[in-house]
Symmetry: C2
Subunit: 94 residues, 2 copies
């Protein structure tokens, strides 16, 4: 099991721009056969701070997710709206 | 629904010290009546970086968790082993 936290920091003027891209990314990722869970949240103190909490069976499944058509099309669009680089954290269960 | 990410950064020489405290904290928190989910993970790149992913019905339930006997007894013990202050993030579903 691989747990992932991926965080994006979107410029205020682009928060509404990215919304449909995030919606499509979440919907299509959940249809991937190896996706265990994939949820998106927003920081209560910062509406441009978006946080994905993901679960994949292993690193290979995460890598396959990053090669999907929806990921490769949508993530660069979202990244162009960032105010600072995103972060990601790969974790094991305690 | 309130989603929480709480992160601790433990000094290398205390990673084994905190393990039973984390185990007890997780076990007892999951027994709280308002706890929806409470999971602990470790950063694959940093064994002293511990990450809780929590879900509570609302802020009142989280505040009640922070007032429990197990939280008030165990968290100060863990905090004394930190190499830097912990962080927490309160989030809403996207």
């Amino acid at each position: 099991m691989l747990k992932v936290i991926a965080q994006d920091f979107i410029r205020p003027e682009h928060i509404e721009t990215v919304r449909p891209w995030y919606e499509e990314l979440v919907a299509k990722t959940r249809l991937e056969k190896d996706c265990i869970s994939y949820h998106l949240y927003t920081d209560q103190k910062d509406p441009g701070h978006f946080v994905f909490i993901e679960e994949w069976p292993d690193r290979q499944a995460l890598d396959a997710h990053c090669q999907t058509e929806h990921f490769r099309r949508l993530v660069p669009l979202i990244d162009a709206c960032q105010r600072q680089p995103g972060t990601f954290l790969l974790m094991d269960a305690f």
